[in-house]
């Protein structure tokens, strides 16, 4: 830089009033802050991308050893045995069975709770019950696992003497109770979004509360209610600790809830506890299982959100 430019710059700097100079600094500061905030927002995208990348990367190494056809058709899952089989079916069947039991519990109770809270309960009851439901959502899942294994299973064994100590029934029921508040609160939101005028119209025709709830409000809110069910399924499929504690570890293809069977999540926990060497086929297998789990929950989540969006646009 030569002398002339320096002098010129100097004079320019003098020419800018102090207020304006401050403004430039202010603008730069604003830009920097906006940039930092944007990076923070992008961290959410980065997390998703890294999840997908890690799962795909490790699964790809897994599928170099295991054919993808075997993975989906073989009925045995024994990656840690001498005679290794890599069929995801037993884990998927375990996951689906426990989820089905959970939904058989959660859908009726959740729906009735939602209808009651939205259509029958007084304002005061609703304001007291909703926080309690929220508290129930906050109970750590490991505690529910304890409840399933040491409280519910012994009771169920009195009713069904053949029931093994680890079984999908007890895990499924507890999981169902766990997702009741979730289904109830999403479904209730949907019902409350139904305009008051529709209820008033029904009452004006002489319908009772129950008739109005069943034939006017429920059909009007049906997409939101279905979305609640689907999000509930996604919860049940991804739930880990209850099934890891109470459902058992044997990967078998069975849809009988009275049996003991491993789910996808329970398998991942089992392997992680065993401390497998990094890079071994057993290590890679949990990522392949995780990929299947992720795909299942993602499908349900997207479906649920699409259905829920639809009813929002309706009114």
């Amino acid at each position: 830089m030569n002398m002339a430019t320096t002098v010129l710059n100097q004079s320019f700097k003098n020419a800018i009033s102090p207020r304006l100079a401050k403004n430039v600094r202010r603008n730069i500061k604003e830009r920097v802050i906006e940039f930092i905030l944007m990076i923070a927002a992008l961290s959410a995208v980065a997390t998703t991308l890294s999840i997908v990348a890690v799962l795909l990367y490790e699964s790809l190494s897994f599928f170099k050893t295991v054919s993808i056809v075997d993975f989906f058709t073989d009925t045995q899952w024994t990656p840690l045995f001498e005679d290794a089989h890599y069929g995801i079916m037993p884990l998927v069947s375990g996951t689906l069975t426990t989820s089905a039991v959970a939904l058989a519990v959660a859908i009726p109770i959740g729906t009735i709770t939602a209808i009651y809270l939205s259509e029958f309960a007084s304002h005061k009851t609703r304001e007291t019950v909703k926080p309690i439901l929220e508290l129930l959502v906050g109970v750590p899942t490991i505690v529910f696992g304890y409840f399933a294994l040491l409280f519910l299973t012994p009771i169920l064994q009195k009713a069904f003497p053949d029931l093994p100590g680890f079984n999908m029934l007890s895990a499924g029921i507890v999981m169902g109770i766990m997702i009741v508040p979730y289904i109830a609160s999403v479904a209730e939101d949907a019902m409350r979004a139904v305009p008051m005028s529709m209820r008033e119209g029904s009452y004006a025709m002489g319908a009772t509360r129950f008739q109005t709830a069943l034939r006017v409000v429920t059909p009007a809110a049906i997409s939101g209610i279905v979305a609640a069910y689907i999000l509930g399924i996604s919860r049940a499929v991804g739930e880990t600790m209850v099934v890891a504690v109470a459902a058992g570890q044997q990967p078998i293809v069975s849809f009988n809830p009275m049996e003991s069977a491993a789910t996808i999540t329970a398998y991942i926990v089992q392997v992680a506890l065993g401390d497998l060497p990094h890079g071994s086929i057993g290590y890679q297998s949990i990522f392949a299982a995780g990929l299947v789990l992720m795909a299942m929950t993602l499908c349900f989540n997207i479906l649920g959100h699409v259905i829920r969006k639809k009813y929002r646009e309706y009114y």
Partner: protein, 319 residues
């Protein structure tokens, strides 16, 4: 009734009809009554479960409620096993989680609500946050195992666990930040701009200050979730039997703070509970119950505080 029927029989049939209608109304009212009973029962079920769960844990675990349970390391003998390493581990992991999730979540929420332009890019981030909230926690564990433990080589440490749980509760913090920011009327911002404040000055001095309570609610709920979360930490491969404490974060020589604890092995309360629960020996189940009772009390207190806070804020807001 047809129009050409004589007068008297018509009246009789109306009366008969009236009886039928009355019977129908009675029936429908009964249905109403029956359903409200069923509804109340369904509600009670949720409440009763919570109560049963809590009472069951207390009944099973009350023998272990003494100071020694908190000051003993895990042991092979159930009656001498304690929670020391677990609660210290939980506290340290929570600290890292807080430091990771809160600044990042609040910043992301601010960006999405105040700065982000309305275009596909912002939509992408939004959809992402919604989806992240639905990802099963164990998948975060797999992310941590692949990325933090092996690729970034952080090991099975407190830092890894804190980062993982931080990412896990990030959507909760982001969503609660956005919701409380959205409740602030535009007039507040306009008043700021009118006296010449820059965007950041408005955001920092007004928007952030007013949404403080709502953000705090979300942070507490998120931290309670992180405290009770076990699946991702098991997946990282955290050891379940830890009979030592991480190096102390505060030392007596300058600079008085050290960061060795970040790379230390650890265990947390839910993992310790899982460990005791999965042993066949019944004596350890008592320890598991006591641990469960402690976890449930702490998380209920945290969530209760958050719900109460939110209620207070809603009541006090007068824009």
């Amino acid at each position: 009734m047809t129009p050409d029927t004589p007068h008297a029989p018509a009246q009789a049939s109306v009366l008969k009809n009236l009886d039928a209608v009355r019977a129908m109304i009675k029936r429908h009212k009964l249905n109403d009554y029956i359903f409200s009973l069923i509804g109340l029962l369904a509600l009670m079920l949720a409440l009763m479960t919570l109560m049963t769960l809590f009472i069951d844990l207390i009944m099973d675990g009350y023998q272990r409620f003494n100071l020694q349970f908190f000051s003993d390391f895990p042991s092979r003998r159930a009656e001498h096993a304690g929670l020391l390493s677990a609660w210290v581990g939980s506290a340290l992991v929570m600290l890292v989680t807080f430091i990771v999730a809160v600044p990042m979540g609040v910043a992301a929420g601010l960006y999405l609500e105040e700065y982000a332009p309305k275009n596909w890019f912002s939509d992408l981030i939004e959809i992402n946050v919604t989806n992240l909230a639905g990802v099963p926690s164990i998948v975060y564990g797999l992310l941590a195992l692949g990325l933090f433990v092996y690729i970034l080589d952080l090991g099975q440490s407190i830092l890894t666990a804190g980062l993982t749980l931080g990412l896990l509760i990030l959507p909760i913090v982001i969503v609660s930040t956005r919701e409380s920011i959205r409740a602030i009327p535009t007039a507040i911002r306009e008043a700021g701009y009118a006296v010449g404040a820059t965007k950041w000055q408005v955001v920092h001095d007004h928007v952030l200050k007013y949404s403080y309570g709502g953000i705090l609610t979300g942070v507490i709920i998120g931290m309670a979730r992180a405290l009770g979360e076990s699946a991702p930490i098991i997946t990282i491969g955290a050891l379940t039997f830890i009979a030592f404490l991480p190096p102390s974060p505060i030392t007596d020589v300058a600079p008085f703070i050290n960061f060795e604890w970040l790379s230390s092995g650890f265990t947390v309360l839910p993992i310790q509970m899982f460990n005791w629960l999965s042993r066949p020996d019944q004596a350890f189940h008592i320890n598991a119950a006591a641990t469960g009772a402690i976890i449930i009390v702490v998380t209920l207190l945290m969530n209760g505080t958050a719900i109460y806070l939110r209620y207070k804020i809603r009541k006090n807001i007068k824009w």
